[in-house]
């Protein structure tokens, strides 16, 4: 028996919209949830508003986003984990809709809109909603505009997606541990969150899915507000090296090659048959 259906993890470092995000989640959730905010080396001012569903982990010094997610997951009591950035708005009942359709080896992402954090409303932007993303030939996640605009695909409310952005993801807690998330040693504190999740999932026999029956809106941070994390170049190259290893062997539980994933979604922008051939013969 788990006391909650969903544990929502919010890693936060100097996040000015953390309270908004928490309030939004607590207001919009319809099922049994707990929110775990991980304050990574700072206290928000003003203090977070107490709520019986809100737990807080406070680190005396910043240990990084992956460590924060892991700390939240370690004390989470829910059957499912939903990780959200600290600047997101959700659709009513998001938690119930996500739990309704989530196989034990799925990673699910809701449809994504763009958020105006100051007005706390959706930004009308023709690029959105984003349902699909692909991994480019340098293994970056890129919005798959062709698929996002496809009226036929829009009718398909649950569908596979090759990759995602990483600002929100949802999966069974057991699956989180099965995927050995998050790997601080290989990937470092911050970068390439969804490359780690998506590739571990797909290439060990799981599926990354978009659930278009519900949505969230994410504020794409600009330099105006600054990033929560100051990112050293070393951390980024560490993460890139870890991602790059997927071209050969990315993880000890991997059962499928990267070429299998590309072929499953073929044609994938930026991937030519030659590149796929090179990847499958380890020559990329």
């Amino acid at each position: 028996m788990t006391p909650y259906d969903v544990s929502i993890l919010i890693p936060a470092r100097n996040e000015i919209f953390l309270q908004h995000t928490i309030t939004d989640l607590l207001t919009k959730a319809e099922g049994s949830i707990e929110v775990i905010a991980i304050l990574d080396g700072y206290w928000p001012s003003p203090q977070l508003i107490n709520d019986v569903r809100l737990k807080i982990i406070h680190r005396g010094h910043s240990q990084g986003m992956r460590a924060a997610i892991n700390a939240g997951a370690a004390i989470a009591k829910g059957k499912y984990l939903l990780k959200s950035d600290a600047h997101c708005m959700f659709a009513p009942g998001f938690d119930k809709i996500l739990t309704e359709q989530c196989d034990k080896n799925w990673v699910v992402v809701p449809r994504r809109f763009s958020l105006d954090p100051e007005k706390w409303e959706l930004i009308d932007n023709p690029k959105y909603p984003i349902d699909y993303m692909y991994l480019s030939n340098d293994l970056h996640g890129v919005p798959w505009n062709e698929k996002n605009k496809d009226p036929e695909l829009k009718k398909k409310l649950i569908d596979e997606t090759m990759s995602n952005q990483g600002s929100v993801w949802f999966m069974a807690k057991d699956y989180f541990h099965e995927l050995e998330l998050m790997d601080e040693t290989s990937y470092g504190i911050f970068w390439n969150e969804f490359q780690e999740i998506g590739l571990k999932c797909w290439l060990s026999g799981g599926r990354v899915m978009v659930n278009k029956k519900t949505w969230y809106a994410h504020w794409h941070k600009t330099n105006e507000f600054g990033r929560g994390y100051s990112l050293s170049g070393g951390e980024q190259s560490k993460a890139l090296a870890a991602v790059d290893r997927w071209k050969t062997m990315g993880w000890h539980k991997q059962t499928l090659p990267l070429s299998w994933l590309i072929e499953r979604f073929f044609p994938v922008p930026s991937w030519t048959p030659e590149l796929i051939e090179a990847v499958s013969s380890n020559k990329l």
């Binding site: 680190r59 700390a71 004390i75």
Partner: protein, 584 residues
Amino acid sequence: MSDLSILIPARKEMFLAKTIEDILQNIEGDTEVIAVMDGYWADPPIPQHERVTLIHNPESIGQRAATNQAAKLSKAKYIMKCDAHCAFEKGFDVKMMSEMHDDWTMAPVMKNLHAFDWVCPDGHRRYQGPSGPCQDCGKPTTRDILWQAKRSPNSVSYCFDSAPHFQYFGEFSKRPEGQGDITASMSLQGSCWMLTRDKYWKLGICDENFGSWGSQGIEVAVKTWLSGGKVMVNHKTWYAHMFRTQGGDFGFPYPISGSDQEKAKRYARDLFFNNNWPKQVLPLSWLVEKFWPVKGWTEEDLVKLKANTFKFGALGSDIKPAESEPLEDKLPFEGIIYQALPEDSGPTGDKSIKGIIYYTDCQLDPKIAEPVREQILKISEEKGLPIVSATLKKMDFGVKNIHFPSLKKGYPAMFKQIIAALEHSKSDIIFFCEHDILYHPSHFDFTPPDKDTFYYNQNVWFLRTSDGHALHYDVNQLSGLCGYREALLTHFRERYEMILKEGFSRRMGFEPMTHHRIKWQNDYKLGTWISEYPNIDIRHPGNLTGQRWKKEQFRNKKLLVNWQESDDEIPGWGKTKELIKKLS
């Protein structure tokens, strides 16, 4: 990544910040703190520190669950769980880690923490306890934080009886196997223990099925022993724990209904007494036998336990066994300490070898009491003998005064005062001083040659205040007792325990080791000496014991050695008529 994570589950704990501050001041290794504010926000708040992680639960999830929560955030090799009202010795973390074995659970020596006093605007102090107005003057009091580890007791051995109830197991530390720097303990008190993180999870050290709280020490200790490990106490370092036993706003912060306690005990019985714990490689009878004889276990219990036919008796009514203070501690805890001088400043500045304890019911006519005190004080100053006084009313006398406003005058109170004074004294050799004896300075020139002998100065004259008649015979009186503090303390604690059980009787008498009517567990030898000049025992209408002035009044005349009477002079003191004038 740290070597040691100190986990602190806290619920409504006002000393959480203080405990964390103490830890941060005293750690010397790569040690971190993970504290859980279980259903409350710490007030005062915890200052941000790079070595501190905090968890806040909006509603209390219970002490075991909170400890597990904190443990989940640890990546250290070792885990130490401690209560949120503890102080530590400098370098305790390193001293603990350097003695650790991977299959051990270890605790430091446990001292008692004097965290605070209640103080009123007039300066009356009351020992830590529930809040409330000053008991001397009724004015409001505020908390004065002292945060001092007491010198004694130093608890190093624990067990549980067949209930199972937690017990202090001082007897074990007197056995040969209880000697040394690292000693085994059958059980633990529960407020501080350390083991590897690996074992913490493998042994399921905080099983939430035990309920939120209760039997924590037993669970940790028994799981360690029965899985093939050892439970050890490290005498090379200590922590000090604040006991909260007086209820009100000085009670236990987790709601512990009797039924929850019962639940924990029942679960413990089921798991351990019926050998139902899947991870055990040894039966519980092995553990009991290893420490045999164990307080609260009969031979019959053990035989049945070994034959797997053990049946529990009715559970007692004590609801928070491990939160009870060490027995030797119960006494001063009820008293109120007034410290006139800082702990370590004896009159000479150095640690005094000899010292005085003074006890009184404060009901003696001041015409007698004051000259007596003046005389003791003069000697104390001249000879550098610090006085610790234990009195029923508050009194500014000596380097330290412990007073007991709620105690009634009588023999049990007197013994209690003696224990309190002995506990608070820092001297090795103690002279007992009573309120109606004029002590001669030469009395204190004696140095007892043997640590295990109680010595009585037989040079005493009785002086009748009504007419100045004086009488001497060689007699051993409590007021003339001198001995080593440690031995005296052991004896008076045993004596007090017996009085609690059986009441005081004349059979027991007042003067330890002067007869063999009582079979004491801790036996000491009797010694006597004759000081150069006598002390004067002032016989006045208020004496607790009556006085016989004529030989015919004594049944056993053999006791009347060196009988002398005088209406004129007492050696060293001059005319008795002059003396009684000074006392009236």
